[in-house]
Each structure stands twice: as C-alpha cells, then as structure tokens.
Chain length 538, copies 2
Amino acid sequence: MRGLMQDTPLTVDAIFRHVEQHYGDGTIVTNNPGGVTRATYAEWAQRTRKLGGVLDTLGISSDGRVGTFGWNSQRHLELYFAAPCTGRVLHTLNVRLFPEQLTYIANHAEDEVIFVDRTVLPLLWSLIDTMKTVKQVVVMDDGGDNEIPDDARILDYETLLADAEPVEFHVEDEGLAASMCYTSGTTGNPKGVVYSHRSTFLHTMGVMAPNAFGLGIRDVAMPVVPMFHANAWGIAQAAPAAGASLVMPGALMQPEAIAKLIIDEGVTFTAGVPTIWQGVLPHLAGKPHKLRDIGCGGSAVPKALSEAYREQVGIPILQAWGMTETHPVASSGVLPNRYEDADDETKATQRARAGIPFLGVEARIVDADTLEPQPWDDKATGELQVRGPWCAQDYYNPDAGTELTTEDGWMKTGDVAAMDAYGSIRIADRTKDLIKSGGEWISSVDLENAIMSHPAVKEAAVIGIPHPKWDERPLACVVVKEGESVTQEEILEHLKPLVAKWWMPEAVEFIDEVPKTSVGKFSKKDLRTKFAEYALPS
Amino acid sequence: MRGLMQDTPLTVDAIFRHVEQHYGDGTIVTNNPGGVTRATYAEWAQRTRKLGGVLDTLGISSDGRVGTFGWNSQRHLELYFAAPCTGRVLHTLNVRLFPEQLTYIANHAEDEVIFVDRTVLPLLWSLIDTMKTVKQVVVMDDGGDNEIPDDARILDYETLLADAEPVEFHVEDEGLAASMCYTSGTTGNPKGVVYSHRSTFLHTMGVMAPNAFGLGIRDVAMPVVPMFHANAWGIAQAAPAAGASLVMPGALMQPEAIAKLIIDEGVTFTAGVPTIWQGVLPHLAGKPHKLRDIGCGGSAVPKALSEAYREQVGIPILQAWGMTETHPVASSGVLPNRYEDADDETKATQRARAGIPFLGVEARIVDADTLEPQPWDDKATGELQVRGPWCAQDYYNPDAGTELTTEDGWMKTGDVAAMDAYGSIRIADRTKDLIKSGGEWISSVDLENAIMSHPAVKEAAVIGIPHPKWDERPLACVVVKEGESVTQEEILEHLKPLVAKWWMPEAVEFIDEVPKTSVGKFSKKDLRTKFAEYALPS
Ligand SMILES: Nc1ncnc2c1ncn2[C@@H]1O[C@H](COP(=O)(O)O)[C@@H](O)[C@H]1O
C-alpha cells in the first residue's frame, strides 16, 4: 500500500521561495575591505533571481558548473542559490588550495565560469589559461585594491546584474546535482563531492534542528567557516531557511574583526574551526555579546579551548563533526541529559566528543578490512562509517581504485573512532595520512616526496602533531642516507620552492628508520605513538 | 547531472533506530487510571521490536492495517512504530467518533486487528460484529475497570508481548504507507489520509525545528492532543526523534490531572486544543513549572487565552495551524523579529495568527473557483491552499466527487484566510460548514438533517457560535412549517436518540427563513453574520 501524499520534490528552490516569501525583512551583513554592506533578504532574493538571468545571458549550459572563488559574502550567497535554482551546479573553489590543485579541480569539474572576489583575483587570474573550460571570469568587487586586468573574459558582477531580468526558478527532480565541493582530505588528487537538491534540503533541516545548530527566526548567524570549504557547514542555507539574519565576515578573517562583528551585530550563533576560536578568544573574553552557541569542528576541539570559552565568554564550545562527504555536518556534542548534574570536568570531557549523529545520519565503527562491527564500549576503536541521505555515495569521476562506499553500503570516513553505549562518537585518530592545519589539509605524502627529493635523504615520513593554534602542524621524520649528513635548515631550504609556506614542517626529527607495517608500508600509527608527547618548538 | 549522494530512504524505522541507538535513557511516563508507569526508550524499543513479532504471529498481512483505539500512552507509542516499521499501516481510530462512523472507518480501512485501551473497550466491543475485517481485538490494560468479555477474539497485549521475539525492522521504500488517519472535518463520509514513510520523516523534522516546536534533547514533551486524532501533531514521533522525554496523559484528560503532570514531570513543551488550555489555566496559574512553550491549534486560539497564559503562567500560547491532511502541522505563530519591540497588544494580535508555514510547506490564497491568487495584503481573503511533501494528494478510496487537489497541484484546505506581506496566514473563516467543539468536529449538515426529520420543522441550518470553553458550539436556526409549532425542548428531545450528546445544539433560534446564496444553497455566511453577537445561554 502506498502513501497518498504529494510528491513535491525537496529542492533548493523550495528553500529559496520560503525565504523570499516569508523572511523578506531578514538581513545579510557583509564585512568587506570596502566597508560593511547590508541588504534584506527581499533585496537578496530579487538580486538572486536576476543572477539567474545573468547565468542565462552568459550562456552557461543548463547543468553547467558555476565556479566561485571568494569569501563569505552576500554575493556568494546569491550564487549559492542562483546556480542550483536554475538547474546549474554551484562549484566552490577553495581559495587556500595550491595553484596546481585549483587547475586540476576547475578542469575536472569543467567549470564554465568563475565568480571571483576582487581580493583574491590575482591568484585565480594567474591560472586562467590553465583552466580549459572557463570562458568567463566575473569579478565581485569587495573593495579589495587588486588591479582588474583589461581582458575580454573579465566581467563585472554588478554591471551584469544591473542589466539582467529576474527569472523564475523551478527544479523538478530532487536527485539532480545542486552543488559540488572538492576535498583534499584524502590522498591522491582532490575528489569532487556532488550534493543533490534532496541532500541539500535534508542537510538544511538537519543542521537547523535544536540538537544541531538550532537555527530559528530569532537568530543572527555568522558562518566563519568558509563558503568555499565544506559548504559553510550548511549555515548559508539553514540560516535563511530559518529566517535567521546572516552576518558574513567577507575577506576580513582576522580575529579582531570577527570578534567585533559578533559584538556589533548581535550574533547569536557562529561556527568555525578551532584555530579561529583560539584567535578570537582574547578579543571576546569579558565582552558583552548575545552568543548562545559557538559551533566548532573540522578538527578535534581541544577541551581546554571549550573550557576557556565557558569561563571567559560564558558559553562552552559546541563541537560538531563531519566532512565534505557528509555535506558536511553529521553529529554534534550537544550534552546529553544524563550529564546535566555532572561536574564541570565530566561535562567538558563529554563536550569534547564528536557526539551523537543527527537524525538522518547513522554511524558505526568497524574493522576497516573485515567490516566486523566493534563494540560500543568507548574503548574499542574502528573505522567510523556513516550512512544517510546526506552522505556521499561516490566521488565525481574518481581516479581508479577510489572507493568511498563499502560493499554493504556505508560511507568510509577514514576517521578512527570509539563509540559509547549511547552511540556517541569519540574521534580517536585518522587513518587518512593527512594533516589538518587551521582547517585546511596538508598532504603528508606530497610533503614526504618533496623531502625525499633531497639527495641526502633516504626516507621521510610526515605526521601531524597537535598544535595549540593550528590544531595540527607537520613534523618531518627523516632518515639520512648512510655516509651523508643534512641539517633541519638545509631540508627546509630545499622545500621552500617546492611547497606552500603554510605546509612547511614545524620541525625535522632525524630517526634511524621509519617503522613499517606487516606489509612493509610506513606505519604512521607507530610514528604517531612514538611522538605522542612531542612538543613542537614554539 | 545527478547528485552523487546515498539514496537512503526516509523511513519510520530510521527514526526508530535513531531513538534506540542514541536515546536509550530517555523516558516515557504514562498517566493511567492504574497509576503512573515509567519506561526508558531502551525498554520501549525492545518492546516495540517484540510487538513487531506479535504482529507477525497474529498473521497480520504484510501491509495490513493495524487499528488502535486508545489514549496517549507508551503502548500506543509502541504501536506507532511497530506497525510501520514492519511494513504495516497504523490506523488510529478516534475514540470520540459515533458508532456508525467507527464502523464505517474500520471497514473502509479494512483493519485486521484493533488494539484497544481497557478504558474504552466497551464502546469498541459493542461494534465488533459490524467491523467486517477485524479478526482480533488486543486489550491494553490501562487500569480501567471495564470487564473484559470472554471471547476468543480478545487477546491481552502484555501476554502477547511476553511470548514474542523481537524482530528486525527494514523498510526500503519511502513512498510506502506508514499510517492512516480519518478526518470527519469535511462533509460526507469520513475520509482517510494515508501518510507515507517519507512524509512522516519530513513532518518529524519539520515540527522539530525551532520555528515550530523546537524539540531537542533537553525537552520533556507532553502531547495532550490525542494520538488518535491528527497524529498527536507529530509529537509522538518528533519527541523521541529529538531524544526528548515523553509524558503521556493516558485516559486522565481532566484539567487538574494535566496541570499536575506538567508540574510534577517538569514538562517543557506541551500541545493541545484551546479547550484543554482553557480548562488547565486555573490549575497552572501562579504555579512553578518548566514550560517553555505551549502549542495550541486545531481551532483558532483566542487572543484572550494566550494573554491570560502570558500573564498568569508566564508564557503566551504558541499557535499552530494544520489539519489531518497536513500531517497535521503546517505553520506556527512564532513571533517574527519585527514585532520584538512592539507593545503587548500588537504582539498578542500577531501571535493569534496561524502564522508562517514551515520550511517544506508552501501556502497561497486563491479564489476557490477560479484559482485566481489573492493579494497578500492581510485584507483580501481566499481559500487557503497548501503544497509540500507532507500535504495529502488524495484521500484513500474517496467517495466519487471528492477532490482534494486542484488542477495545478495544490491541496484545498477548505479554510478561508488572509495573508500579510510576509505570507503570514490569518484564518478568517471556514468554507467547510463544520463546528469544532473541544477539538472535535460536529457536522452541521448531519445535525440539520436530524433536526429536519422533526415533522414540524421546515428548514434548519446549524452554525458554530464561539464558546469560551469549547471554542464553538452549535446553534440551530429553525424555520417552522406553516401552521405548525414546536419548542426548543421538543427539538432537543427529538435529537436525543439521533446524535451524540456532545453534538446537542446549545440553543435553538426560530427564524422566518434561512438566508440563501445565489444558487439557492443555505448561506451559512449570512447566518453567521446575523448571529455574530449571539450570546449562548451559559
Ligand atoms: N569534531 C571533529 N573532531 C575531530 N576531527 C574532525 C572533527 N570534525 C572534522 N574532523 C576531521 O575533518 C575531516 C573532514 O574534513 P573536511 O572534509 O575538510 O571537512 C574529518 O574526516 C575529520 O578527520
């Protein structure tokens, strides 16, 4: 027997219409080098419809990829809706990636146009000839002072908008792609995750729930987590969908600027990686504010950081866990009732967990090879695997051999976790040999190859070491060839032309041999154990 | 281009697993004539899996209808999940319906079994031979003192459960029916609404959101609105799904008992029809409580009632609007930000609106005949029509000529509404000529027919008159045949064997003629205008 309900699809344009119809007086504030700009959702909606018209006029294919390269801003939010609501696919490019990665990604996604903030234009423009499918670059003038090249491919956002007609939005099939996001959070080439309209709608409802970010009409939400990385944790959709006003930090990501926005704009909910909150703390401590929750994730949230916020700002940090492949938010450390009367220490320990998956996400821990389930005793660990309508099934045209999904249909996260009797997740380790620094990924493999290109180096293994500011920083463990010698300085000097400045190992340790697994691979696990107590030079 | 996310279905068993895995220490309290019972969600989950086994053992078809006839209770919640999670269809029978309606509904739905509370057993049992497809009646002993007939068809819930094995739940297709609910809120025979797994999952997320009931892990939720009528407004699914504890009033629906439960059990969220809150007010006024919100709907919520709660209980009432056909909650009167600094009177007027549809529900007002959209100026009225994944498409095997959906795919509500510039709904009237008394429907048409069966009556038209306790009560407007005479007492006497006691008109007014519309139909609208200031005898 079938249900007899309407089969209305779950689409991004349904979210758009909801905002346009009901929350026209909500506001979007953007902080920019050119000054703060303000608009209502009514104005935003009208501009977004016109932007749909621009995409038509530019001749973007009906499901063409619309690239963006910019900070969190009102214009970025216009793109977040105009692209999927006209059937196209929003593709957010991460402004912190390497040039080669950016080229790879734009070509792999086949971006037809890229919308770029003036403050980051030079980086993008220097690569334009390597991006085969990109025909136009639309500059969003955020008040940055970069020169705008005189080139026929370069267009101006506001000029295009001024000339455009608003269009109707109508997506019929919730299974269609709405946006894509590449992750470098795995080894090998960056991998594209393709969110559907359905998954976007459901993730929006998921993060809106009280056990997640709890967004409602009385909120003022500020996503510090970038719209160019992991979908701004869904806040760019969920805040408008809830009628909450939005505050966008724009290019001004300095801790002082962020703290000032929180205070001046009466922000009630914000979210970002630990590094951000580490920096913001001294600027917020003891100040009057309206915050009810500070979401934090992307890396483990240090208990001490959360406690410092509780003591100095008045609210502990709300940990969330997820990844690009989970849209990205899948669980949160909302404190279960049974700890309500616990002491501060116990509460803090509980809050430091990745916590309970949201309704819509199922989690398990298994032996990564045999898929044998591990007990939920908070001791046994296994690979964390997830399942649900906003978990990715496959990457977009992946390299051969990249398997995201297990035989029995669960998504592999590459995180190692324990679960307690109530299925609360505690991230214990990463199987992925990557280092997460300030919310962005460093590939240990790429770093190792660069180090091993030094003639005196026999073997090199790079691991992440916890770091108070950046969460993790790379430590290079180097084995010198017999009869040769090399210093830390020489190795770093060697790396300079080869890797980005923020990838530079924090230190080099010389070791006799890299520990190996039974099959002869570098055992990062053993190395991590060996250096568990390692103190980076500060 | 298609999204590449998992196509995990949205099903009731996904909700069940979520509760079972993560909220095992949440509690369900049931107030019963036999005393208060308590269980954890862990115990409830285990019993629900066993109940699935019972349904197998009883031989219920794989998509058979499982009837229930009972109050809000833990056992009813077991049925709410065990039936859909095993692929069957939960069918809640309204204990306040007429015998003939109950018979009609059980036969129309083809119920195979009915689970019945001992306190309401006699009513059901007296009809058992008229219910053609019902093979078994399972008695849930809630401590009522009704005798249990010695009959082979009668089984005991706890005995069956004790003997059963827990089963696995696994529904693959979100389009399958999960439950059905008949509404007598229209003229003609009761009509069956068939909720799907998908619509149930989405409605659960919808009512959980902060702009709706805002249910989270710290809540203690008490649905006073019956599980046998309009799905307990989704609270029976959303509270467990949020990890909120549940308090069930059982058969003890007296105002004192409800107020006591709210206070004793630390209820933070509750919901029911205006009549309930009218009665509870004196028992709650000035008492200490933990309520954060009192949901109210099913009839217009009088502004005075909401204000009385604000003044005497400390929180105004949260109005919600919806109908059986919308699962049932579709909008709420959560106060928009722009009224934050308004005076109390303005706020109260705003809160008295049906308010903003939830994300997932779209609303419009149109001319019912031409479907011409009406302006959103808060003056123009039109038929309220809605659209979305938890709005019904069709009734279950409806009588010929019953059309729920317009040509262009919107659900007709039969309510007349105005909408303001922000799409906030104000219910103005009902096109359905029904009277809503204490949350339940009285068919004016049926009453009129009964009155007109009196030999001295020429015409009778019944309208609802606002009533401080019951929201509305019927007023009979009677035209006497020429040369005949009849008194109010004689008419009421005549009705006694024909209608339920609570359907009895509050008063009879003798008029010269029933006003007619242009096509010669009774014009209830004109009658309502005529009696707009009518004061019922008290
Ligand atoms: N709360 C958290 N605690 C620990 N690691 C986290 C947390 N949130 C995210 N991560 C890590 O970040 C990865 C996802 O990175 P990304 O795809 O860049 O968002 C996860 O697989 C984890 O390794």
